[in-house]
Amino acid sequence: MWKWLHPYANPETTYHLSDRVIPWFGWLSGSLLTIGLVWALLFAPADYQQGDSFRIFYLHVPAASLSMGIYLGMAIAALCGMVWQLKLSDAAVAALAPVGAVFTAIALFTGAAWGKPMWGTWWVWDARLTSELVLLFLYLGVIAINNAFEDKQMAGKAASIIALVGVINLPIIKYSVEWWNTLHQGATVSKLGKPAMSLEMFWPFVVCFLGFAFFVATVTCIRFKTEILLRNSSRPWVKNLMLEQAK
């Protein structure tokens, strides 16, 4: 496996790999999101308690679970960067943070817009909402630190530390609805075994979720390319590539 992975520690190989997968991820994301959102907004049944406000679910839940998934990915990249001193890991951390921040913001915003009609309030300082807000601040911290240092290597190290320390927040978000009394409802989809929802609602959710996941992959690859270029701008392969593209 190491032999197979080894070439991808080389920025040039990885740059071209991301370049190649972007159109595939992009098209997958576009078509899955079109199918999923039309299904979710027009054809999925309304909830027996929440009526059509339930349709916010198809954006809120994928955004929230991806906001945590992206953080986990970012933290793993940070760990690899610290253990093996891979410069590409720093680029991955820097590429993932803004994407995660946007998904966290969407989760928080749609949660507020769903909470207002269902709970009667836009916001409460309870465990689930507060820990998700902390997640947003962690992302913003990683972004700010990456931008604060002129020296990319130092920035990467500092950002990785924040990213790793923040991992403690993930189980807190995940289990907040079980550990504390909260307005937020418990898990609907991720219960082990059968999901606690009807299949007519479950399948459009799966399609939406995959669509958003491929969206994350597409945007992350674009940002990853940028970060690789910025960190290798004086290498011969970047120079040759730029000259080729300028033709």
Binding site: L41, L42, F43, A44, P45, A46, G51, D52, S53, R55, I56, L59, H60, A63, P98, V99, V102, A105, I106, F109, T110, A113, W114, K116, P117, F215, V219, I222, R223, K225, T226, L229, L230, S233, V238, K239, M242, L243, Q245, A246
Partner: protein
């Protein structure tokens, strides 16, 4: 199809404002992210290209100065 008319679809059983507020925000946020990511890549490429051109010019100028001596 869960809705009889466009109006019913937009109304979302009375929750129209909240549903469209959510999806509107999501759409704007994701679009902004894509456009910003693409323009950042473009900017990085053009910055690097500019630097290469400047470096080449400097090299050329240095060579010419050497030739005059």
């Amino acid at each position: 199809m869960q809705f009889d008319s466009i109006t019913a679809f937009l109304d979302m059983g009375g929750y129209g404002f909240f549903v469209w507020l959510s999806f509107g925000f999501g759409l704007i946020a994701l679009l902004t992210l894509v456009l910003q990511s693409k323009s950042a890549l473009k900017r990085a490429k053009s910055d690097i290209a500019k630097r290469i051109v400047t470096e080449q010019k400097q090299k050329l100028a240095a060579q010419q100065q050497n030739n005059h001596r």
